[in-house]
């Protein structure tokens, strides 16, 4: 053992190094987040539940009923019934159901959506989906467009 390492051992250098590390941590800000009081900042491409959206200009529904999302869905959780668009040309989804119980949040339904410049189906930032019955997860078009109602625990 060299003189230097002997000195280190006798002066307990390593122990004091450890103490200084914990003291530094003592003054660092905590990393715990008090959810649900504080919520994490989501990344722009965060994949919450898929939802439908309207044209921001005309507030008309964007979905043209092409069934591409239904076909690509790996969980078969999307089911669409197509109908003629009233008072215009083209088609629209008469009923649009996403079964959130089966959805795996993969975002594949967004990729083939042909409407431009924004897709009709998109991955929203909603993730608080707990509910009391399984029926609630089979989500109808109105909910898909207007957003998921947040349910709080009640006794």
């Amino acid at each position: 053992m060299s003189a230097g390492s002997l000195g280190r051992k006798f002066l307990l250098v390593e122990l004091f190094q450890g103490l200084s590390i914990t003291l530094k941590n003592f003054f660092r800000p905590h990393i715990t987040m008090e959810y649900p009081r504080e919520k994490p900042e989501l990344a722009p491409r965060f994949r919450g539940v898929p939802r439908l959206r309207r044209d921001p200009g005309t507030t008309e529904e964007l979905c043209i009923g092409c069934l591409l999302c239904e076909q690509i869905c790996p969980d078969d959780c999307i089911s669409i019934v197509v109908d003629k668009r009233p008072g215009g040309k083209g088609k629209m989804a008469k009923s649009f159901i996403i079964d959130y119980e089966r959805c795996c949040f993969c975002g594949l339904c967004v990729d083939p959506c042909p409407t431009t410049p924004i897709t009709a189906i998109y991955m929203s930032h909603d993730y608080e989906l707990s509910d009391y019955s399984r029926q609630e997860f089979i989500t109808q078009r109105a909910t898909l467009v207007d957003g998921h109602p947040l349910k709080r625990y009640e006794k």
Binding site: I21, T22, N25, F26, H30, I31, T32, E34
Partner: protein
Amino acid sequence: METRLVIINVVIPAIKVAVVLGVMSLAVAYATLLERKVLGFIQLRLAPRRVGFHGILQPIADGIKLLLKEDIIPDRADRALFILAPVISIIPAFAALAVIPFAGQSFNVLGFEIKPWITDVNIGILYILSISSLGVYGIMLGGWASNSKYPLLGSLRSAAQMVSYEVPLGLAIIGPLLLAGTASMTGIVRAQESQGVWFVFPQIVALFCYFISGMAETNRIPFDLPEAEAELVAGYFTEYSGMKFAFFYLAEYTNMIVVSSIATTLWLGGWLRPFPGVQALSFLNFLDFISPTLSGVFWFGFKVFMVLFVYIWVRGTFPRYRYDQLMNLGWKWLLPISLANVVLTALVLTIRHG
């Protein structure tokens, strides 16, 4: 005249005991909160903050919870000893507080002079050493009376550890005793006042040995082998629940405060402000305008708090010792170091005083 004697000899001591017991129980409860807070911050967590403002009422909630919990006595346990053990472990812990001087100046209430300590015997430190050694009986009896494997192993370890570390602990205390020339707790602080220096400066080695031995005596991490949760479930109080468990817990934290108080009194100048010999720093006793007792209590409390913080800081930093390492450290390192410190101190004193 008769009533005056009764008040001086019975009423005032009884009130002082009640006050010290009450304040210390509260301090012990809040020591647990301090520990959880400091550990939490070291680990970048938040620590309890749900009960009251930033968790300030957490110890009270814990106490209520423990009081209301079901109190189980195992079927095959020795009932009498099982109930006695937590009591035996907590009484010496609180009894040791009797000789600790919380401040220097006495104060007057209704013409009676009240000293800020319960009693001042001239063998104060010996009294503390002997009474705190009794605490190990509680742990041993608790482990034995549980009639269960893990508590028994834990209490055996605890007994061996306490016996080993009592030796360097006692030797480390001799250093400041030699410098002060008295074993009275107030006498030691007054010696530091008259010599104008805290004994931590000439006796840093002794404080070091004392601090490590004290940690081992109170079964704290890194010396918590008696309750090593990874090996022994919870050690000697595995079978305890409810308030009996809380008694062991409180005893541990009371012992922590007692060890910190002794370190404060013997090495860190007790109720004295920093640098008691320098007149220019007398503004540090800023509570003097209310009462000199109060500034004494403030400095004493502040130093105890700092020692407790170091205690918890060490706990948050180091892993647990292995059993053979524990014995190595006690007998091969701390004992020779503290012995050498005693010899050296005595030698220097002899040469200086002729």
